[in-house]
């Protein structure tokens, strides 16, 4: 599952991609490759350029610079050919609310050119997948968020596309529905479908084979979640719990072996060169500064830690150069 390197042939190749809207650069020289059967997550805050990149890959927006190749086809040169190979779920729900579940499925099936002989069976599959059996005749506008999203996914895979672009498919959906949705994505990837999915939920990154961290149009880092955590921090992470938070913060900033201190709620996250060394030295230093009740534990960093750290270092690097 945690493939660090793309396995097999790349299905999506993006090189030096730039998209400008007037003076605003939404996508800034982004380069990556995605292999067959991979699930790649685009992680980043709203407005980071995730949707714009996905729209370019679907042939909906023309890139200002660079190249994007999907299923071996250059999207700028032949967007129509690309569309035969992709399924797309846009950020805004875009099925027809005034049509029923079955009518939507039949419409998109016909539009994608699904042969009549298999359409019925594919529609049944999609309805079951979305958990909408028995509600085929319900107007889509009457469905709750989770069902809508799963139905949209069902519509996007009616024509069995080898590549899926999902733009924030789980936004505004309850946690239970989100888990179910990710189960579906994993099942599709197991069948060889390549999935590029954007989200602003950091915890969803853990479901992806690889994660692309995106901020202000730039690709900050890309790799498997495990790899990113190991590489991204360049040290070990300690959690310090204390009642004297301010005192502890002052004591640790600039201490030897301490790279970074950040307050996380009523605890401190401390990035150190080596956990073992620090766990021996830090209690004394804290005690010297009048922090007596500190409890120190070594913790696994979350992707959010990584993201914050990477954005900070890349911003610093950008300022230095």
């Amino acid at each position: 599952m945690s493939a660090a390197q793309p396995k097999g042939e790349p299905r999506i190749v993006v090189e030096g991609l730039v998209k400008r809207f007037g003076s605003f650069t939404a996508v800034d020289h982004v380069t990556f490759r995605i292999a067959e059967g991979e699930i790649v997550g685009f992680i980043g805050p709203n407005g980071a350029g995730k949707s714009t990149t996905i729209r370019i890959l679907c042939g909906l927006l023309r890139p200002s610079e660079g190249r994007a190749v999907v299923a071996g086809i250059d999207v700028t040169r032949d967007p129509e050919a690309v569309r035969q190979h992709i399924g797309y779920m846009s950020q805004k729900f875009s099925l027809y609310g005034d049509l029923t579940v079955a009518e939507n499925l039949r419409f998109f099936g016909s539009i994608y050119g699904v042969p009549r002989a298999v359409l019925g069976e594919r529609m049944r599959f999609a309805v079951e997948m979305a958990g909408l059996s028995g509600r085929e005749d319900a107007l889509v506008s009457t469905l709750a968020g989770g069902w809508k999203q799963r139905l949209a996914l069902g519509c996007a895979i009616l024509h069995r596309p080898p590549i899926l672009f999902l733009d924030e498919p789980t936004s505004g959906v309850d946690p239970e529905s989100r888990r179910r949705f990710w189960d579906l994505i994993h099942a599709l990837a197991a069948d060889g479908v390549t999935v590029l999915v954007s989200t602003h939920y950091m915890d969803e990154a853990e479901y992806c084979n690889r994660v692309a961290l995106i901020n202000q149009g730039r690709l900050v880092a890309m790799g498997s979640p495990v790899e990113l955590k190991r590489r991204g921090l360049g040290g070990d992470l300690l959690l310090i719990e204390t009642d004297a938070l301010g005192l502890a913060l002052a004591a640790l900033e600039g201490a030897p072996g301490v790279r970074d201190v950040a307050a996380f709620g009523n605890t401190l996250h401390v990035l150190v060169d080596a956990a073992a060394l620090a766990q021996r030295d830090l209690p004394k230093r804290l005690a010297d500064h009048g922090v007596a009740d500190a409890r120190i534990a070594s913790i696994e960093p979350t992707l959010e830690d990584i993201f914050v750290r990477l954005v900070a270092t890349s911003a610093a690097a950008g300022a230095a150069s």
Binding site: F21, R55, C58, G59, L60, L61, R62, P79, E80, R83, Q84, I86, Y88, M89, S90, K92, F93, S94, L95, Y96, G97, D98, L99, E103, R106, F107, F108, S110, I111, Y112, G113, R116, C155
Partner: protein, 378 residues
Amino acid sequence: MRVGRLKAMAVKEMLQVWRDPRSLMIALLMPIMQMVLLGYGVNLDAKHVPVCTFDREGSQLSEALLKRFQASAYFAIVDVVDTYRAVTADLDRGDCRIAIVVPPDFSERLSDSGSSSVQAIIDGTDDNTANLALGYAQAVVSGFSSDVQIRFSASQGQWMPRPPPLSIDARVWFNEDLESRNFIIPGVVAMVMALVGSQLTSLTISRDWERGTMELLVSTPVTPMEVMLGKLLPYFVIGFLDAALCLAFAVFWFEVPFRGTILTLFVTTALFLVVVLCIGYLISVMIRSQLGASQIALLVTMLPTALLSGYTFPIDQMPAPIRAITYLVHARYYVTILKSVFLKGLGVFDLAGPVLAMVIYAAVVAVFASRAFRKRLD
């Protein structure tokens, strides 16, 4: 282009229209409402023109003359007064459009000199009605005058009065009763179809943009041609229903004589529908909001059609530059065709000129419409 996709688009669009009260209203109620409003509202006949009379003589003869006015369908006596001041007041208030004043020496001068006159004071603010009222008044008086002459001749012992040396033997063709309604209603049908047609399609593409469904649609392999034809097809059917409704309304309700063939009507209406539906579609593609698109569609069809199509204001009486502009107004051709088909009973070949113009118009608009839609977001 694939038939399966085209059919899917058309079916989808039909279902959406059927479930959208706003579209349904435009499709079915608007034409009927407009037929009624425009059909009754626009009337160029001056019937029952309000008259006030001031008989300063009160003789048998003067009363006989005023009775003529009373009997005429063109006039309605609304006030009988006995001072000039009252006459002025009536005209000022607009209670009457014309006042007939019989002088105190009316009969006396007639018997003395064989000729007399009555005064007509006319409100000229609306020149059209004033002209008509004057003409009608002259007709009433001259009718009375020849009666007087006959009676006078008879009293002189002449059996046959001499006929006037010259007269017109008038025979009216096409609109025998000179009913302005017969001339206007076919034009109203054209006007209604121009409005409704472009309204119907002005919402189709903008609705998809507004609801966000367009983003998904353009990411599919559907072609712009399939989108256009698939969206226009249901409205073509609805447009035909509307046209049939309006035409039936014209024939059976307003009783406009229909002398042409249904086939001519069918062919020309189909052409006109292509033009107006494509215009609406074009606007819908360019303006991505439903409200904006329907407003623009109203603006670009309403004014040119009302003023420059010749449906009320005759084109051949317009100044040359304006007349040149009317060639760009689609409804101009359909108005000409409908009037000819209704009143003259002309066929498609008699109408080759306007029909050809509509074919060219339809082709140009359809080409523009089919190229306007881009499967892109930027």
